[in-house]
Amino acid sequence: MEFLIATTIGVLTAAGIYMVMRLRTFPVIIGTSLLTYAVNLFLFASGRLVINEPPILRDDVTSYTDPLPQALVLTAIVISFGMTAVVVMIALASYLNADDDHVDEAQDLSRDRRAGTDPEEDPDTQRGDEKESRA
């Protein structure tokens, strides 16, 4: 069983990372969702695997599984829904605005940077004329 859970987490992680590195928004969202499964399972598994010992107190039962990772993962599941929803919304908004669902803007950004700031140019020289107006 331990082996099955470990490999499941591994497969989900690998698929998640591969998908996150794709170039369009949709696979990236799917990738983060896969990673979320993997991480939640991993956090849950850190309480070790136990069968038929749910953390519901019973009078005649003495042994329970670790409840803490469960509580943490429970909120993580709900929060990850919120995160997915926000990311999907952002992806949708950018697609509707630009008619483009690429996640990489590498070329555009570096071009802007080159045009925007020239390292040789001292910002002070631009405002040198103010000096005259004062004198």
């Binding site: 690998a14 107190l57 919120g82 999907v88 908004a93 803007e105 000096k131």
Partner: protein, 951 residues
């Protein structure tokens, strides 16, 4: 007056000038002066105690575990500096009142000045080196504001930046040094550090601490090779130059060296570093100063040179050297401050500070000329002026100091420095004030009003008084010297006097004066040689260095952060893998001590499903609808796995989240393209796949390793299991943890969830009011639309099961404290019930019947949860302490009521609101995009048809 109030007064007073400027410049200046004088008065009340050799202390324990306490103390050294700071501060405030023109924002200026004053007073009064560091940084920041006060001047801005860079870096070094010193001494209190000289000097931290502290001191006090920022800071208004750059801030480094003298001095390292840096600075500053044409630049280099002189004296490590240093600090503050003020007057009246355009001012502005000449003669070290006395002592000390094994080196260099020092002083007098009156000044100069010449004249008076009657200053100097050297050695018995007989120092002094006169006579040919000689320009080197750093940072940033998301993901993955590999190869793995659970057929089937679905996603991800179906498979399997592995709460949550997530993704996919095109080349896909597989293997290995081993430390879960029922009143431990033990976390989480939903709502609003709206309205669906968007069967079924689902939600909610369930799951279930109405009957129909805005529901949820927490305060318990009790109502079984339930209700409402607000936002977009909107739930409705048919 308490030392706290003295240190705080300037800070509090800094609020006033900005307000008082409304009442006029005079009121503004007077208020500022009053603040400073009040602090000065407070200081004077302690004078008798300090005079009697006592140390005044005050302390407030602040952060004792960090060793950071608000402890202040006042001894002779602190008293001298505080007097200088506040006394000269008062003079500068008067002077600045008349110096600043109507164009200058006087309120702003005085605010900065008082901030600076407070920071300086803080430095000299601190008894805790961490506290001192805070004040030290404050002086750097406030001096940045003061140097760059004239924001329209490029030189001012550049000078301020340079000063901040150099002193700020020094400040960083100082922080490191002080922390090392503190751990070497085992305390952060200065008074205790000073008593632990032997412990500190034996510590292996001594040398690094010394180097870092000296770096801080040298940058602040403009010692070689960090001297270059000071001349560039001269772009500041002259009151700033005379206050910060002659009397106070640049002396902060010297102060610190003097303060820590008993703990740090007397070692080889201290002697070599401090003495040689001081000597080099002194000679270099004097030589460069001679050839500067700007009056303030000349004075700036002279300051650098004199600071070097004082540093060198402290470096010798002898009591006599310390005494000479103390005396020179006082003398230099007096004459240099008055000289700066005179230079400012010349600049103010003649509209130039260029020495080549001046000359003959003695006839036009006799008062200023007299003050300036007095100051310059003191600077040159001429008898009857105070500079002579301390310079004699310096030369005396130099004649005994042996550096690099050559006993002639230090005296020779000291004499050389003194010659140039005399030369620039004479040049200052001769080229600016003596000579013929000219008629080509940019502005006809004349003496200013008393407000401007009064302060320097007062300082000039001190210069002459001390110079003629040195025995007046002797007790002060001895007192301060005693404070500097602590208990290391005896205070030297030597007297301050004009005449000590024909000593080597006197001969050196005569050589210096005569040499200075000769240099002045030869000035024109010397200047030609100087101008022709190649020499490094500090500003260019500094700018090149800063530029190189900026370009390097830029290259690194844009190399890593170029806007490519997939690049960030790869960098992140590689980094995590590298860290994990490091941990794997350096760490040790404990023994396997946990049995494997047997693999049953059903879990194996689930595993096969999940792994193949994941694999299929990778290969089929270009077909987006298929991907979503496969995601559903994975989610379902994960929730079954939770159930199998004793986590019923997780299973319930996961399955309901799965439903809303898939609905959400479907809504989004409605607008997004249905397929992903092939774009990345094969090589890249292979690279990504390799990275992903390695990461997956790592995750597998890590999980497997953890699962085969028991907890390495005791877990806190036992506490929760034990106290869940007795303390939290519930048998479902997971739920009790959520609403009780870790209620604070949950409270934060529902807030985050609410914020996420509001973000979605806000983005939708922005989209629907912007240009996207037109696009949505004109959109032609890329898929065939269903002929019957709201089928009869579905409408009927969803309506029928709505009350059932709501019932289930209520049930899950109510039993949550004791059985699997609770606010999170109930909220999701109820959301699904409502979403089904949207899907079946249409957005318009459902929205019309929906009375509570979802933001309100979120807000109500957070509010209820918060109020439940606050309710605990009413009973004097901490926030979110829960309570519970059992209630017996007639006709019902005994049941439990817990305050945690109200909290869970808040969670429930927040989840419902957040989920529905998100989904509703997406649906609103769909509605805009020309979906058929009918107020009728069903497109084909037999009852409506009969009605219309009948009519």
């Amino acid at each position: 007056m308490s030392l706290f109030i003295i240190a705080l007064l300037p800070f509090l007073g800094a609020l006033l000038p900005g307000l008082m400027i409304q009442a006029g410049r005079r009121a503004c200046g007077m208020t500022t002066l009053f603040v400073t004088l009040a602090a000065l008065l407070g200081l004077v009340t302690h004078l008798p105690a300090v005079w009697a050799g006592e140390t005044v202390t005050t302390s407030v324990i602040w952060l004792p575990t960090l060793g950071l306490n608000m402890t202040l103390f006042l001894d002779g050294l602190g008293m001298m500096f505080a007097m200088l700071i506040l006394g000269i501060g008062a003079l500068v405030i008067i002077y600045a009142r008349y110096y600043l023109t109507r164009d200058d924002n006087m309120g702003e200026f005085y605010t900065y000045l008082l901030l600076f004053q407070g920071a300086m007073v803080g430095i000299v009064l601190s008894n805790n080196i961490l506290l001192l560091l805070i004040f030290w940084e404050l002086t750097s920041l406030s001096s940045f504001l003061l140097i760059g006060f004239w924001k329209h001047l490029p030189e001012g801005r550049q000078g301020a930046r340079m000063a901040l860079t150099v002193t700020g870096m020094g400040g960083l070094a100082l922080i490191g040094g002080m922390l090392l010193l503190g751990s070497a001494a085992g305390t952060y209190e200065i008074t205790e550090i000073l008593a632990r000289r032997d412990v500190i000097q034996a510590s292996p931290y001594y040398v690094p601490a010394l180097l870092l502290i000296l770096l801080g001191c040298f940058t602040k006090s403009a010692q070689f090779p960090f001297h270059f920022w000071l001349p560039h800071a001269m772009a500041a208004p002259t009151p700033v130059s005379s206050y910060l750059h002659s009397a106070t801030m640049v002396k902060a480094g010297i102060f610190l060296m003097a303060r820590l003298w008993p703990a740090l001095s007397g070692t080889e390292e201290w002697f070599w570093i401090v003495t040689s840096a001081g000597l080099i600075t002194m000679v270099l500053g004097a030589v460069i100063g001679l050839f500067k044409h700007d009056l303030k630049a000349l004075l700036a280099f002279s300051t650098v040179s004199h600071l070097g002189l004082i540093t060198m004296l402290l470096g010798t490590g002898t009591a006599y050297g310390a005494m000479a240093a103390v005396f020179h600090i006082l003398n230099h503050a007096a004459f240099k401050c008055s000289l700066f003020m005179s230079a400012g007057i010349v600049d103010h009246e003649a509209h130039t500070r260029d020495i080549r355009r001046l000359g003959g001012l003695r006839h036009l502005m006799p008062i200023t000329a007299t003050i300036a000449i007095v100051g310059a003669l003191a600077m040159a070290g001429i008898p009857l002026f105070n500079g002579f006395l301390s310079k004699e002592m310096f030369l005396e000390e130099a004649s005994h100091t042996v550096l690099f094994g050559a006993d002639w080196l230090v005296p020779a260099l000291a004499t050389l420095g003194a010659i140039f020092s005399a030369a620039y002083s004479f040049r200052f007098i001769a080229h600016a004030f003596l000579g013929k009156t000219r008629d080509d000044y940019p502005h006809k100069p004349h003496d200013p009003n008393f407000g401007m010449w009064g302060p320097p004249a007062f300082l000039g008076l001190i210069v002459v008084t001390v110079g003629c009657l040195p025995f007046l200053a002797e007790p002060v100097v001895k007192l301060v010297t005693a404070a500097v050297i602590g208990e290391v050695t005896e205070v030297p018995g030597a007297h301050l006097a004009l005449w000590h007989g024909v000593t080597p120092a006197l001969i050196m002094s005569i050589i210096a004066t005569v040499g200075g006169l000769i240099l002045l006579a030869l000035f024109t040919p010397l200047l030609k040689g100087w101008d022709a000689a190649p020499r490094p320009e500090a500003k260019q080197i500094f700018d090149a260095l800063v530029g190189a750093c900026a370009r390097g940072a830029e290259r690194l940033t844009s190399g890593m952060h170029n806007g490519s998301f997939s690049r960030y993901a790869s960098i992140f993955t590689v980094t995590v893998l590298a860290v994990a590999a490091h941990a794997w190869f350096t760490g040790t793995l404990g023994p396997v001590n946990r049995e494997m659970l047997p693999i049953e057929p059903l879990p194996l089937a689930g595993w096969i499903l999940i792994v193949s679905a994941t694999g299929l996603i990778v290969f089929l991800h270009r077909n987006r609808l298929a991907t979503l179906i496969l995601m559903g498979v994975i989610g379902t399997m994960v929730s079954i796995a939770f159930n199998y592995l004793s986590a019923p709460d997780l299973a319930l949550t996961q399955i309901s989240v799965e439903v809303v997530t898939i609905i959400l993704l479907l809504l989004a996919l409605n607008f997004l393209p249905n397929t992903t095109p092939i774009e990345s080349p094969v090589s890249r896909r292979v690279r990504d796949a390799v990275l992903a597989v390695v990461a997956g293997l790592g995750a597998t290995g890590l999980t497997y390793a953890i699962l085969r081993r028991d907890f390495s430390m005791g877990t806190i879960s036992d506490y929760m299991l034990e106290n869940s029922y007795d303390g939290g009143g519930g048998t479902n431990v997971v739920n009790v943890i959520l609403v009780d033990f870790r209620g604070y976390d949950t409270f934060g989480e529902i807030i985050v969830l609410g914020i996420a939903a509001l973000v979605i709502y806000a983005v939708t609003e922005a989209l629907l009011t912007g240009p996207v709206r037109a696009r949505l309205l004109n959109r032609i669906p890329d898929q065939k639309q269903a002929g019957d968007a709201h089928p009869l069967m579905m409408v009927v079924v969803t309506r029928l099961i709505l009350p059932v689902v709501l019932m289930v939600g209520a049930y899950i909610f109510l039993r949550g404290h004791n059985e699997p369930g609770g606010g999170f799951v109930a909220g999701l279930v109820v959301s699904i019930a409502v979403v089904m109405q949207y899907m079946a009957s249409g957005f318009a129909w459902a929205n019309e019947r929906q009375r509570y805005p979802y933001h309100g529901v979120i807000g109500a949820g957070v509010l209820i949860a918060g109020l439940t927490g606050i309710g605990a305060w009413l009973f004097g318990r901490p926030f979110l302490t829960s309570t519970f009790g059992y209630v017996k109502l007639p006709g019902l079984e005994k049941f439990e009521l817990a305050s945690a339930m109200a909290f869970d209700l808040g969670v429930f409402l927040a989840v419902v609101g957040a989920v529905l607000l998100s989904l509703e936002s997406f649906s609103r977009m769909a509605r805009r995009s020309g979906d058929e909107t009918s107020e009728h739930a069903m497109d084909i409705d037999p009852s409506r048809d009969t009605e219309t048919g009948g009519a």
